[in-house]
Amino acid sequence: MSITRHPDDSTLMSYAAGSLPGALAAVTAAHLSVCPRCHDEVAMMELLGGTLLSDLPGAAMGRPVPAAPEIEYAPPVGPIAAPAGEVPPPLARLIGHDLDALRWRWISRGLWLRWVPIAGGGKLHLFKGAPGVVVPEHGHHGSELTMVLRGTLADTTGEYGVGDVCDLDESVEHTPIAGAEGCVCVVAQDHSVRWRRLLVRLARPWHGM
């Protein structure tokens, strides 16, 4: 996996701050689990969080310091095994390890969708596109994060392979196209999608996305 497209620094920063809506945080966590570069950035952003925390004027504690409880010694965490499958561990908790075992909802020719329930705000979906299939042009009221889990995806902002993330805000409308081998992606939005053409807007199966 050679990752070249990353979430925006402002997205990573919001993640480190603990203020990214749940759906966007899920995609970011998935990317972090396969991307050493972003992993290191988030570590530095957490350092900033620690500094901000220690600079906060303290609130007086009302109770005395509790007695220190017994420590349960845990062995140090060893190297975490590389994820065996194509579903990054943070997503596997939500959808399991096998993309082919999922029940997909057919949307239109060559296009399938699956809604993934998530707490904490925003909407999370998986979509599967057959080779060359075009996702209808759309924009967003807020942010949209798309991560490729299988195959490739391209739009006006570039080409995305496995592990890459396309991070868009409301200023961009795009028409993603599945690559020659098709694709499976996970996509998070913090607000509803704004479908550009009325015809598309009326296409019922997309409602709710």
């Binding site: 899920a26 992993h39 220690s54 965490v77």
Partner: protein, 199 residues
Amino acid sequence: MLDFSIIPGSGGQSPLSAHRGIMADLLQRIAERADPAAFRELYEVYGPRVKAYMIRKGADAGTAEDLAQETLLTVWRKASLYAGDKGSMTTWVFAIARNLRIDRLRREVPWQELPEGRLAEASGEPLPDEAMAEKERKQRVQAALAELPAEQRDVVSLAYIEGLSHSEIAERLDVPLGTVKSRMRIAYQKIRQALENLE
């Protein structure tokens, strides 16, 4: 501002800890010897800050204190997982407090993994700050924060301390979402630079 120099180190450290910062030393005392005095220091230094952090997200004083206590007990229990890392004690406390705040106050799944869960997956390339003592890194970050224009410092603070999303910050400040994101991006680049330039 916290002054870490007031926290006494303990003599006779193992060679492993000899070169570390004072707070890391405190963590070491917790991890290696379950030193109750170290727990008291940890509690007195961080308790009020973590409590204030919880209050900022809307917790009442009692809940905030419960969450602060839970945060520091978690630090205490998990210190052995974290000791040996070159990172910062403060970062570790922040990450635990952040996850608890997400979990309890926003009723959300805590997506953020704690630093120890990610250590092994790091690139192996040293972070620009890795060679620095914790105190020095903190001072660098504090100085960089102080130099930020107010509009950049505000978005950082709203995200980290008030726990607002990009959209919520945009609404609060009545600016476009893209403006919030670019302010955060620029603020981060400056802070990152401050740490890199120290090498």
